[in-house]
């Protein structure tokens, strides 16, 4: 592919590409993001390719392996264009039927369609499925249609036209004004206005400057950046190049966590293709602007998601954060002005340039403009990645899009912002999602992780879980975090094990203050948040654990006992046979009893007891009823 040397040449190539593509040609797009790979999409892909060949349809049907579609609960997903027929949870065995029936005969296979759980209506088209219908997929929309390993696909949908506009029709000042006008705020957690960050670097008097993509995405449960980087890597590259042009940088880094091999692969391919075509390198498209991008992998440290620690890691050192007194947009990587932004932030840039800041600001609330991609996970029916305009309520996201809580359970809390964030209870469901709104409620936007919790989740354990995570990930440099957070973890662990005592909450609050005010970086400063927010909204659970040695959610092992209800047990022996500790006493027709001395609380009996009996119960905060007598245990015909 010869280098493109001017915008005119680019338009020629784009026209040619479009003329070669028939919009009415049958195309099967298959979600090939990492999450769908885990559910077997590779095998489905192979099966489709084989079947198309077998049925002699290679010229009539295109196959396109795209990035993440977002509806991860129902993967693997295929969409058949141009009709936009959407089939969910495809297995390789379904493929021959799909090809013969739908591709060849235009017949819909109903069992593979989405069925609305409330109305039982079957929905054919992807965009009508409630999960998608209520979203605003400005960023993720392209994931459904392009093959991330193909720059031609990106060009066919107008890719790199923002870069052309910036290089040939705008000067850096104008680009900066547009970004500032859009009020684009950082999507990685800080929510800092990107335009102001860029301005600081632009005005810093230094000849060497850098731009960085933060693709470290360490928040557990958050994988939006991975899906963007895997599914539409060129959009990130384009945004990065625009940013570099604006501040005057010629070198960019993409810091990707090594736990994302597909993202590393796809961004590598994208960079090579962009260099071949001339969108990266020297004298880009004949504009005189030079820009090159280097990929650098992380090595397994959450703290490296913090911008100053990330830069330290790029310099080849252990990821210890630096104090934020000297801002990194003035003195960052190698002490040079550096703009570091999150993947999603960069991906928004071409949209803003192509459509204008005014277009962008029509989405969102007054202070939080645009859309945000959330990873909706945990106790939720429609697990997946959702993109909504800021200002949508939590209730709509969780229930309209997320489909509510599985198993008919009660919603308890939504955790946002990762380990730096907090838990919000049912009273907060009408909160409109936005940076400041979430912070005021006691949580934060963070990178977009949204973990749903139900009545079976113990909130004290949630606080312990996050502190455990942070203790493991702390860099260890400063006392408030290394020692303080560790002590908080100790106390919380004791509370969940029934060893809580008077004064624990007060000590936790003291330690929380020291971490918040005295820690060196944001990891330590925000470490107390999960504890503070759960204490605020779920204080009764803390008191139950400490004073009554009771876990209301029936989760904390040391505070629960397993008990077989003699009224319900039918002596089927299933739990007895599966108990790894041989702790169940019983026989056929003799009601089973759990030997509390031997029971290891592994939960197996609870899991395996058939639902029509539901005889195994968990008890907390009260003594286990004494076993019934031998005679009473015998089940005779017709009894009960």
């Amino acid at each position: 592919m010869p280098r493109i040397n001017s915008p005119a040449e680019l338009e020629e190539i784009r026209k040619e590409l479009l003329s070669q593509r028939d919009p009415d040609k049958r195309t099967i797009t298959l979600c090939s993001g990492s999450a769908c790979h885990a559910t077997g999409s590779r095998l489905v892909a192979e099966s489709i390719e084989e079947e198309i060949k077998k049925q002699g349809l290679i010229d009539q049907v295109d196959i396109r392996k795209t990035g993440c579609h977002g509806f991860c609960e129902r993967g693997p997903i295929i969409v058949i264009h141009p009709d936009e027929i959407c089939y969910l949870q495809i297995k390789p065995e379904d493929v021959p039927e799909i090809i013969s029936e739908t591709i060849k005969e235009n017949r819909i296979i109903e069992r593979l369609l989405y069925t609305d759980p409330a109305t039982e209506e079957e929905i054919i088209h992807e965009h009508e499925i409630p999960f998608y219908k209520n979203q605003q997929r400005l960023l993720f929309g392209a994931n459904i249609t392009i093959d991330p390993k193909s720059i031609e696909d990106y060009l066919a949908i107008g890719g790199y036209s923002a870069l052309v506009k910036v290089l040939f029709e705008m000067n850096p000042e104008q680009v900066l004004e547009e970004i500032k006008k859009s009020n684009l705020r950082g999507r990685g957690g800080g929510g800092f206005p990107a335009g102001i960050k860029w301005e600081g670097s632009r005005n810093a008097p230094d000849d060497k400057k850098y731009v960085i993509v933060n693709a470290d995405e360490g928040d557990p449960g958050a994988y939006m950046d991975r899906s963007l980087l895997e599914g539409n890597p060129h959009s990130v590259l384009e945004g990065l190049a625009i940013g570099a042009y604006t501040i005057g940088a010629e070198e960019g880094y993409i810091y990707v966590r090594q736990e994302y091999p597909l993202a590393v692969e796809n961004i590598g391919i994208a960079i090579r293709q962009a260099e071949e075509y001339g969108f990266l390198g020297d004298n880009i498209l004949g504009s005189g602007f030079n820009f090159k991008v280097i990929v650098h992998q992380g090595a397994g440290a959450f703290v490296c998601g913090e911008s100053s620690a990330l830069m330290t890691a790029l310099e080849g050192r252990a990821g210890e954060p630096r104090p934020k007194y000297i801002r990194s947009n003035i003195k960052g990587l190698w002490e040079k002005p550096t703009v570091l932004n999150n993947v999603e932030t960069w991906a928004n840039v071409p949209l803003i340039i192509n459509n204008g800041a005014d277009w962008f600001t029509q989405y969102g609330t007054e202070k939080s403009k645009g859309t945000k991609i959330f990873s909706l996970v945990g106790k939720i029916n429609n697990t997946g990645l959702v993109e909504v305009a800021m200002g949508m309520t939590l209730r709509d996201i969780i229930f309209k899009i997320g489909g509510g809580i599985p198993g008919g359970k009660e919603f308890k809390a939504v955790q946002t912002g990762g380990p730096s964030g907090g838990c919000l209870p049912g009273d907060s469901l009408d909160l409109k999602v936005g940076f400041d709104e979430l912070t005021q409620a006691g949580s934060m936007m963070g990178s977009g992780g949204m973990i749903i919790m139900d009545e079976d989740t113990c909130m004290v354990d949630v606080a312990r879980y996050f502190l455990n995570f942070l203790t493991d990930e702390s860099c260890g440099k400063c006392v408030p975090c290394r020692e303080g957070v560790k002590q908080m973890l100790k106390i919380l662990t004791n509370i969940t094990q029934g060893k809580g005592k008077e004064g624990d909450i007060e000590l936790l609050e003291e330690l929380a203050e020291v971490a918040r005010e005295g820690a060196l970086c944001a990891l330590g400063q925000t470490a107390p948040n999960p504890f503070i927010s759960t204490l605020k909204y779920f204080k009764d659970e803390y008191e139950a654990h400490i004073k009554e040695k009771k876990c209301p959610a029936l989760y904390c092992k040391e505070l629960i006992e397993y008990y077989i209800d003699p009224e319900k047990c039918r002596a089927c022996m299933i739990c007895l046979k599966q108990c790894p500790a041989d702790a169940i006493i019983g026989e056929k027709k003799k009601i089973h009893i759990i030997d509390q001395e031997k029971c290891t609380k592994c939960n197996t009996c609870f899991e395996v007891c058939p639902s029509r009996f539901s005889a195994v119960k968990k008890i907390s905060g009260e003594p286990v009823p004494p076993p019934i007598s031998e005679e009473e245990r015998i089940i005779t015909r017709g009894s009960n």
């Binding site: 559910t39 360490g218 090595a299 080849g316 050192r317 989740t457 592994c602 395996v608």
Partner: protein, 160 residues
């Protein structure tokens, strides 16, 4: 997936030098070099660290700090099969702790350890990004999704 026998001898110096040269012998590429060596050799023997220290002109103390600071690196040989249990928040809320407890029982090792036969290495990971499949256990890159503690025994039996 069949894994080759893990090597307990050090990687040879030629291969180490090749990797270092790929990064232009720049000290700032230390982490990238170590990642490649870890990926090929499955662990970082001391001789290898000393060679890297020499070629990149970086003090051994700094390399040791980095090799122990980042979770991707191992200073001891790993087992033939690496078990990763996801302990991300979504999986945690879906009961990952019980899965981990069960696997610890079955293998006899704790996270971060390798068993005496060098068969299994156990690690916890913070989010594999397959939250729809939680709780998740990954063995040698193969995802076992929506796994319950009772099912882990069968999954592990498949590996020798």
């Amino acid at each position: 997936m069949v894994k080759e026998d893990c090597r307990t001898e050090a990687m040879d110096n030629n291969r180490i030098d090749q990797i270092i040269e790929k990064y232009n012998c720049e000290a700032s590429s230390l982490i990238q070099v170590l990642l490649e060596v870890q990926s090929e050799n499955r662990w970082l023997p001391k001789q290898v660290l000393e060679r890297i220290s020499e070629r990149l002109q970086v003090p051994l103390a700094r390399i040791q700090h980095i090799a122990t600071f980042y979770k991707a690196f191992s200073l001891v040989p790993k087992g033939r099969h690496e078990i990763h249990i996801c302990m991300g928040t979504a999986c945690h809320v879906r009961g990952a702790q019980l899965v981990l407890d069960k696997v610890q029982d079955l293998t006899g090792i704790n996270p971060g350890e390798t068993d005496l036969d060098l068969k299994f290495s156990l690690e916890t990971v913070n989010c594999l990004g397959c939250c729809a499949l939680g709780p998740v256990m990954e063995i040698d890159g193969q995802i076992h999704g929506k796994i319950s503690p009772a099912e882990t025994a069968d999954a592990l039996k498949k590996y020798d």
